[in-house]
Amino acid sequence: MAPERHRILMVSDFFYPNFGGVENHIYYLSQCLLELGHKVVVMTHAYGNRSGVRYMTGGLKVYYVPWRPFVMQNTLPTIYGTLPIVRTILIREQISLVHGHQAFSTLCHEALMHARTMGYKVVFTDHSLYGFSDVGSIHMNKVLQFTLADVTQAICVSHTSKENTVLRSGIPPEKVYMIPNAVDTAMFMPAEERPGGNEIVIVVISRLVYRKGADLLVEVIPEVCQLYPNVRFIVGGDGPKRVRLEEMREKHSLQDRVDMLGAVPHASVRSVLITGHIFLNSSLTEAFCIAILEAASCGLLTVSTRVGGVPEVLPDDMIVLAEPDPTDMVQSIKKAISLLPGIDPQAMHERMKKLYDWHDVAKRTEIVYDRALKCPNQPLLGRLSRYLSCGSWAGKLFCLVMTIDFLLWHLLKLWQPEEDIDKVPDFVIPTGETSSAFDQELDDQSSS
């Protein structure tokens, strides 16, 4: 039996031209799903002048909806404001399933809520770990609880992330699948010749913010430089903590041993990685950490803090783990330096090719989609009972929000009936002979 062709809408505030783990995940997953024969459309907010419909590689259609981001690239939360545009996109693209990404994305939460109101199956992927005690986390967890109360299936990128999501949102664990991220091993290849000589180069590429452990680097780098006169550091990335690193460099006169590159475009990350022997990751929290996959794919031995999902990512012989403490990190770097002679970058790269592949991620995600689409539909009253369990007052508030959304949806159906929304022809980038096929598609649309 031929596999079912799905029509997926990926929704997130985080997409190209922004670069990051979530953005890369959506892009690579979408490309692999397109190769599997599915239709994928992405919906995100406008970035500057980048507004409207764009087509990316492989015919990936992206809606840059002109809702301005208001803080940290997130769309202004209006609860019901995005209902008309989400409905229009779902109908015109004939979407069968909505896949939202990232708990911090307001557009994702709103789109999933509207999609459930309209009876679509929804899948949510959580890419980050969150706490439980601070005000921001409490608020975020409540929002997540609301969204996941009625989600069809959920995906997490590591077992640690799955535990975290289940505890924060109260979603039944059997609804949550673990599908890790992957790495484009064709792009991240080791250098043909490993950097030689007596010098050992340790590479750090991350945003220089508190969450990424930039404060740990300030303590670790001078210590390592004192212990090993032949060690040099390359620090790529920018952020508010960059000033601290610059001050450290000045204080210990390490200008010739610590290179600060500033922000490194994603396309240039490989060229920086292959100049090094060891990759240092000092994050204080990570659900997965694609950066260490990229480093391992380039043949670098990784030293990382033992936080979140990091221990699940690489085999023990490719990574040296340390507690998020400067002394332990220095000891781990010492151990990594002693292991360096036994590291073969090409062999490491070949192993990474087998371990992590976006096509595998896409096939596993496809299984989640198949299961989501087989789940039974529930009427509004049945779905409202799930929201009531979210809390004594929050549950009632969520029920009210969903009821109003349901009423607004029906009003919208009267104002703009589904028949008035044109369906979009499936557009394939023509290769010469297919222009007549496109004309035929338009003719079919115009005559229907």
Binding site: G52, V65, I429, Q445, S446
Partner: protein
């Protein structure tokens, strides 16, 4: 002579040919007016005026309240009905140009002629707004940065835009007006 006719709940599309040589392609899109909208606008305007009169005559309020209400009512009538579009037309004169017409309920007709030498390409594009997304037929014109929409006021369904787009593609000097697909091929070759 009518050659084709498409009707929806809101619009009626009529394709016609003019003059004995049938050289000119005429595409009309007529708005099927909703009486309900006109009635609602009139009711609101009447309400504002009545309120102003009541305030002035019965409650002895300042005459400015009445003037303000009358001003508001007349603006509402002008915007709701006066600016209401009755018909939009596209007249395609091969090897000469394209005339875009908008007929308003007030009787005003807005005309815009585009010579064929200025037309680089007609395009069917998807326009995305914060609340909706719809198809738009536009012209890329020589030495103009912005696209020129063929239909200024109306948001037409795709089945009405496609025959007009094809007619625009097929007319003109032939050197300036390309089909959508050959432009994509040219772009790929130049990259």
């Amino acid at each position: 002579m009518n050659e084709s006719f498409i009707a929806t709940a809101r619009f009626t599309y009529i394709k016609d040919r003019k003059w004995p040589s049938a050289a000119i392609d005429v595409h009309h899109v007529i708005v099927r007016q909703s009486n309900l909208k006109g009635l609602l606008v009139c009711l609101f305007a009447f309400g504002f005026s009545a309120n102003g009169l009541y305030l002035f005559l019965v409650l002895d309020k300042s005459p400015f309240a009445l003037l303000w209400s009358l001003l508001l009512s007349s603006s509402l009538l002008k915007l709701g009905i006066g600016k209401s579009v009755v018909k939009e037309s596209v007249l395609i004169m091969p090897n000469f140009g394209v005339q875009l017409e908008t007929h308003y309920r007030s009787g005003r007709i807005s005309r815009h002629f585009v010579p064929v030498s200025k037309i680089l390409k007609p395009l069917l594009l998807e326009h995305v707004s914060p609340v909706t997304c719809y198809w738009v037929l536009s012209l890329i014109l020589l030495k103009e940065e912005e696209l020129t929409p063929v239909f200024k006021e109306l948001h037409l369904p795709l089945k009405m835009l496609v025959p007009i787009w094809k007619a625009l593609c097929g007319s003109g000097s032939g050197d300036n007006v390309f089909s959508l697909h050959s432009t994509v091929e040219d772009h790929e070759q130049s990259v």
